[in-house]
Amino acid sequence: MNVYQFSSPATFYPFAGWLAPWFAWSAALLAIAGLWIGFAVAPTDFQQGEAYRIIFIHVPTAWMSMFIYLVMGFWSVLALAFNTRLSAMMAQSLVPTGALMTFIALWTGALWGRPTWGTYWAWDARMTSELILLFLYFGVMALRNAIDDPRRADRACAVLTIVGAVNIPIIYFSVQWWNTLHQGASVSLTAAPRMASIMLIGMLVMAFAAWFYTIAVSLWRVQAIILERERSASWISALPGLAGALR
């Protein structure tokens, strides 16, 4: 077997099970700290009042939505280059969480936009690109469900993810260009109140919370995918307490 012996699903499965809870707990603690900063420590903004506190959810999830897609691209390149099933499973495990983060970013952005600009959707450059990113996630999901053979689904989704990842910067640039052309340099989400350092810290803490949450969820999900794909492999019978609730 090639040098990536340790990356076989059988050896990765217990490792993922051991690692995931650590990330889950640290995500929970970071989230609590972030919310505490967001609501108790950060001052009321003189311009937007309390509405700006939504940024502590909106900005981290927006960052994560794009970051997750690029990580999926990374795993997809590995899956195609080295033909390793595990990398394809990792890419597959990230898709639902990525789509979820994108949805949250859009939802919170709209609720923040209403009090700030008076409308839920103002074709802001970042929000429009976020919406297109959501379509990219749905595209990968739809392709995954449309192909039955797992190996072909892995490789087809890998190609689509890579093509999508290459297009993300182009989409963001073209939407930015389109936005400034038509609306001029209107108030966009980035022109939020001057970034007091406390707000930045709050957002960074929430960003790490979202990141660790994503890692934990994708590790748990990749375990489920491994079980689904390798259900008849012999190493599965050695798993402790398989029939019971999976730890």
Binding site: N83, D148, D149, P150, R151, R229, R231, S232
Partner: protein
């Protein structure tokens, strides 16, 4: 000429075969038989470089070949279940298009000669749409006779062939073996070929 080591293949999560090994020497024909669904087609597609094996290696003249490798594509011809004909094209157009795709530029007279050889003279200018399955198969045989390739991979080549078609197929294979080529074919019909050239692989 062709060697297979420790080959394994899966379809979905069903294992088709595992640790499969065999050699095919020049001038020899390997007949792959076995009930349906045992992976005969998958094996041939792996040898042709269309499908990825889950394990094992394929050596062509001692050199390992990966799927889609240029060496394999230049030296081997694969005839699958589908006759690879365009319904809109005539028999002659189909033949010349397929042969040119393999990098060989036949003259019009060669095309006509080989078509008459497979008894498709009258149907030369008919669109493939109107030809019978057997006639469409014989266009495939005409292609085989035009291409000089050392390795033939034939997936159920005898299907839909009538007696004259079968005789033609036998002749073509005999000529290929005599010219030092090798053939791997999955088939159920017994072809009247000298047994000393044949080897059998039964997939259970």
């Amino acid at each position: 000429m062709l060697e297979v080591l420790e080959l394994a293949a899966r379809r979905g999560d069903a294992v088709l075969f595992r640790r499969l090994g065999f050699r095919v020497e020049a001038g020899k024909m390997l007949v792959v038989t076995g009930p349906n669904g045992t992976g005969k087609t998958t094996l041939l597609r792996i040898l042709a470089g269309l499908t990825l094996a889950t394990a094992g290696r394929v050596l062509f003249r001692g050199e390992a070949v990966a799927p889609g490798s240029p060496k394999l594509r230049a030296e081997c011809v694969f005839v699958g279940h589908l006759p690879a004909l365009k319904d809109e094209f005539t028999a002659e157009e189909n033949l010349s298009s397929l042969v040119e795709l393999s990098g060989v530029r036949p003259t019009a007279s060669q095309l006509r000669a080989v078509l008459s050889e497979v008894a498709l003279d009258a149907q030369r200018a008919l669109p493939a749409r109107v030809l019978s399955q057997g006639q469409r198969r014989r266009i495939g045989l005409a292609r085989l006779s035009l291409l000089r390739r050392p390795l033939w991979l034939l997936d159920e080549p005898a299907t839909a062939l009538d007696t004259t078609g079968l005789a033609l197929l036998g002749q073509l294979i005999a000529r290929q073996l005599a010219a030092g080529g090798a053939v791997v074919a999955s088939t159920h019909q017994t072809l009247d070929l000298p047994p000393e050239h044949l080897e059998w692989l039964v997939l259970a």
